[in-house]
Every structure is written in C-alpha cells, then in structure tokens.
Amino acid sequence: MSVITYRQALRDTLRAEMLRDEDVFLIGEEIGVFEGSYKITEGLLKEFGERRVRDTPIAEEGFVGTAIGAAMLGLRPVVEVMTINFSLLAIDQIVNHAAKVYGMFGGQTSVPMVIRTPGGGGQQLGATHSQNIELFYSFIPGLKVLAPSGPADAAAMLRAAIRDNDPVLLLENLGLYNSKGEVPEDDEPVAEIGRAAVSREGSDITLIGYSRMASVATQVAQSLAEEDISVEVIDLRSLRPLDRETIVESVCKTGSAVIAEDDWLTYGIGAEIAATIQEGAFDFLDAPVRRVAMAEVPLPYAKPLESAALPSAESVTTAVKETLNAVGRRVG
C-alpha cells in the first residue's frame, strides 16, 4: 500500500493500462503538451508519443465522435473531457452513438471507450463550469457511469472501465483530485462495475452518497459516532448500473435513509435512490427518506454564495439528526 492522491491514482493507472495494452490511447484537448488542465496526463505524451496521446482541435463533439470511430476499429480510446460541463457539446455523440452503436449495429460492433471527466463545484469556476450533470448520462441505457470517491476506487474503476467493452463515463471530481488514500502497489484490482460499497457499517441510519458526497458522508458518520449515532455509509460507486440490492439491504436494516448528492434536487440522482428505497424497503421505513442536494440555482461564482449553495457536512449532519428525530430517537 502507498498513500497517493486521487490525481496520482488516475495518472498511474492510465500509464499502466497504456503499457499493458497497445490499443489503449488517450485523446482530448490540452492533454498532451499541456498535460491536462488537472494534470492527469502528466508525462504521458513524453513517454508514449503522439501516437498514443492525441491533442485535438478544441471541439468536444469532434474528439468524442472520432474516438467512437476509433473504437469501432477495435482501439480502446480513453477520452478526457476537460470538465463534464463541456460534455454538453458532445452529448449527441455520447447519447446517440456511443450508447447506441452496439444495439443499432445489431450487436456486431461494440464501443470500448472511456470518457473521463470531472464534475464538481466549489472551485469558484462559475455557473457554466461547476455543474454536476452526471444524471444525463446515468439516464441512458447503453452507457455505464462510474463515480469513484477515493484514490483506490479511482484506480480500480478506471482500470475496469478501460478493460470493459461498453462505453463508460468515469465521473471524477475537482474537489477530490488532491484527496489522499491508500492504493495497492503491486496487484491491480479491477472494480466490479455496478457494485456499491458499504464504506462504513452502522445500525441507526443509512447515509448514501457518491463521488465527493460519499467522502463527505464518511466524515459525517465519523463525527456522529462521537455523539453515539451509528451511521451506515453507502458509496454508490456506480450510477449505472445501480446496485439496488446493497441500498435496500442497508435500509431494511437501519429503517431510515438520507441521500447526499452534489447535483440539483429535483429529478436528481437522489430521486432515483429514494424511489429504489420505497420500492424495496417500504415496510422497513420508520421515517421519510431525506435528500440533501445543491440549491436549485446556477452555481454562484462568489465564494460565500457558492458555499451557501453547495451541500456540506453540516447540512448532511442536520438532515441525519432530523431524520432520527422523526424516527423518535431524540438526538442533538
């Protein structure tokens, strides 16, 4: 084990997969000479050359579309979309082609492509550069959407995504790139796509998150433990396919649930999780399912306003306590 950042875990895994498989190549804007806006591709152009690391014109639809064509030839492109906001420019190629070529070509041509892209606010990047729109892709049959919350998962999920024969969107997070965690050094774990993790066991309430909010959920659970509240944390890890069994099993055990999400509330990922809970654990619920999400406004640029709009450890903690109060357990 070594302790490295989320950024380093992604970068090391890209390199290892490129060494392992000649067909793996990187494509995107500013990924070569500039080494990526968030330096995930640092040193890779120097090591592998332009044949494996392709800087493209500044045109998202263009480089996603050409990556699909390369995947149809049998190559394994790993596309970097600088932030998920820019994926809006490529949404037709992602939704109508990456997700549908396999079916519309009669199951004869798969698209083994990865789109790596960070979401996340909190960086003072303004409303157009701070969105969490993974829901758009999680909605689409034919796509897979993974959302690692820590360095070990980032490595294992990127590895799984590259080796998978379907198009996978790997949701990274601007707020997680510098987070640190233990990552196995020698073996190369490959994540099972579609499997959530119980990242902390507990008995009083289930707290569900993904990406940055899974990390926040763990912090909340740790601090509530000091108040003798036992929170079970579920890290969804995969938004499509969704691991409904793990969610339902946990809520059946604890009897209540709070969902923490970085996207907007209405129609958000949490709505699907809440529906999953009422379908699978209705008879076990002792209180209404709560959702904590971003204020439904374009995310402000001003720091105090941006902080006010985003969900936080405090807002999640409050929701957990209010839910437990509703259950009848009086807590702070």
Partner: protein, 371 residues
C-alpha cells in the same frame, strides 16, 4: 442570392454527357473495359429495381419506412465500384446502391427498414458499416476510424481508405465541419462523399450554403471536387483517385456529387408540397441510366440482347426481393434486451427477468382460456 447550378458550373467534372457522349478529362483518364461499363449499367438498373420494389413494399405495409435513392444511382454505384475490398464505408441511410456494391444482400437492408433486425450484415466482412440515421454524425466516426487506420500504419497500395457518405443537409451540421477539420489536421485517409441531391427534406440548397459545397474543403485545407453525380463514369474516376490519394497518405478529399433526389426524402413525405414539377422534368433529362445506355448502344459496346437480359434479371431480382422481404421473421419480445450492452449487465438482467415473468403470465392465461 446566387448559387451555381450544374449546367453553368465550369468546374463540374463530367465524363459522360446527358446525351451519352464521352468527353475526355485530362485529370481523370478513364481506365475501364467495355465489360466493366456493362457491369456498371447492370448495377444501375438492378439498384433502381431494388429501390422501386422497396418503395412498393412500404406502400403495401411490409416496411415501416424507406428512403428512396431514385436519381442517385450513378453517384452510389460509381463511388461504390471505385472501392477496394480493404476499404471501409460509413453510410448514412440512403446508400442502398453502395451496399449493393459491397455485396450486402438487398433483403438485409429491408430487414432494417422492416424493423426485424438492427444488423444483418457483418460490417467488417463487407467493409460497409451499418446505416446511421442521425444527420452527419458518421463523418466523425469515419474520421476517427481513418485516424485509427493511420495510427496502425495500414496505408499504402494494399491499405485501407475510408469513405463517408452524407447529403447536402449534413454539410450544415457541426459534426460534419468538425470531421472536416479533424481529418485535415490529422491528414486522415478519408474521402468525404457528399451527394448533393439539392433537397434536405423540404429545404433547398440555398438554405444550406452560400458557396458551392465542394469549396468548403479549401477552407479546411484539403481538395474539394464537384462531379456530375448522375455520371457514373466521372464518379468512378474521381472517387478512385480520391481513395488512392487517401491510401497513399495524402489525406482527405471532399467530393460533391451534384445529383437530384427524384423521389421523396422518405416514404413519410410528399415532395409535391415543397418543390415544383418543372425541376423534376429538368432532372429527368439527366437520368444516369439513360445516358449510360445511350453510350453503350452508340459505341456498339452492348447489344439489345444484353439490355433485355438485364431487364429480365431485374424482374427476377424484384421477385426475390418481395419474397425475401415477406419471409423475414419477426423478432421475439425478449430480444429488446439483447443488444443494449456488450457485457453482462445487472440492470438488463433484472428487466429481462421481470419481462419474461410478465410474458409468461399471458401464456398461463392463454392456456386457461383455451380450455
């Protein structure tokens, strides 16, 4: 607004006039035997027959939809016959004539339009991808595929050239323009084959562009050529050269095949509501089959017996197309889950199991009622 029409365009490459006279062109020498010209004539007639039958089958309720190629046979056969086995085609949804040249059975196309299959032919075996319905998107796939070919070093005389088919409407799409740019900066081995049939459903060319379409290529930094798309010989010669140039690593070419969609956009629209019949009458004078037939006859390259034999073959093919279409088997309801993901998937497994149970509940009910 002024836009150039074919007859006033001095840059139009034409080898065979509408009257069937051969005109030599210094840049595009024609290297073709009499037997090959007869073969092209046969292709044109048979492809038109397939199209005619398919329109009729749609009218009879046998197909959900058909996109007719009537009038565009020469653009498709000329370019299709310019291809080599190793080349790869990215079609739109109207390239039935190119499919014919790539040995895709016509009833495989009918299977798509009847909706009983999403596939039917192996794109790698035929060097012909499946149809793409969204306008212009395949230009990016073709470009990316070509960049991959280039990356793999599969160029040279026995290498692979990629060709992408699209219409005049697609030239307005961002995907097409991004594909032109990506192909240019990467010098990708791709030929962009635009069939300018003058109409994007109801929108005429002057609503798409203020410059002749082939001139777009110059702005991106590669050659653009306008050909008479109703002249199968010019189409063959120009496409051969563009494909060779791609294979030899000289990068992309845009070919604008100036032609006309004689029928509807698809069987879902009525072109008499948006265009005048005089235009159609004018284009009938430039029919691709009549001019080749006149050339063959005038040159003594084909006899009446040959023309009669081709007509008989077309009748036989028409009958086969009708029979094969009606014999296409309907898919099973559970097939909807079959081709969503290449890998096993828990969402799909759950849905399939639920739906199978739902279907089984009807079977049980049916047995009870039967008794």
């Amino acid at each position: 607004m002024h836009y150039t029409t074919a007859h006033e365009d001095t840059e139009l490459i034409q080898l065979l006039t509408p009257d069937g006279e051969l005109r030599e062109h210094p840049d595009y020498p024609l290297d073709i035997s009499a037997a090959e010209v007869r073969g092209l004539y046969r292709d044109l007639v048979l492809v038109r027959r397939i199209d005619t039958e398919a329109v009729a089958l749609q009218r009879q309720g046998e197909l959900g939809l058909w996109a007719s190629l009537l009038g565009q046979e020469a653009a498709q056969v000329g370019s299709g016959r310019a291809l080599r086995a190793n080349d790869m085609v990215f079609p739109s949804y109207r390239e039935h004539g190119v499919a014919w040249c790539r040995d895709v059975d016509p009833w495989e196309l009918l299977g798509l339009f009847r909706g009983v299959t999403n596939g039917g032919w192996d794109p790698n075996e035929h060097g012909f991808q499946l149809y793409t319905i969204v306008i212009g998107t395949q230009n990016l796939h073709a470009t990316g595929y070509a960049m991959g070919v280039q990356r793999d070093g599969a160029l040279g005389d026995d290498g692979t050239a990629v060709i992408s088919y699209f219409g005049d409407g697609a030239t307005s799409q961002g995907d097409t323009n991004e594909a032109f740019n990506f192909a240019a900066v990467n010098n990708a081995p791709v030929v962009f084959f635009c069939q300018n049939n003058q109409w994007a459903i109801s929108e005429p060319l002057e609503r798409q562009a203020r410059v002749p379409l082939y001139q777009r290529a110059l702005g991106y930094g590669f050659p653009g050529v306008r050909i008479d798309g109703n002249d199968v010989l010019a189409t063959l010669a120009v496409t051969r050269r563009a494909l060779r140039s791609a294979r030899e690593g000289q990068g992309p070419t845009l070919i604008e095949a100036f032609t006309y969609r004689m029928g509807a956009h698809t069987t879902n629209d009525d072109p008499t509501r948006y265009r005048v019949s005089a235009e159609i009458d004018e284009w009938k004078q430039r029919d691709p089959i009549l001019r080749l037939r006149a050339y063959l006859a005038n040159q003594g390259m084909a006899t009446d017996t040959f023309f009669a034999e081709v007509d008989t073959e077309a009748d036989q093919l028409g009958e086969r197309v009708r029979d094969e279409c009606r014999a296409l088997a309907d898919p099973e309801p559970l097939d909807i889950f079959r081709e969503v993901y290449a890998e096993p998937n828990s969402h799909i497994d759950r849905q399939r199991a639920d739906f199978a149970e739902y279907l089984a509940s009807f079977e049980d009910a049916g047995v009870t009622e039967g008794r």
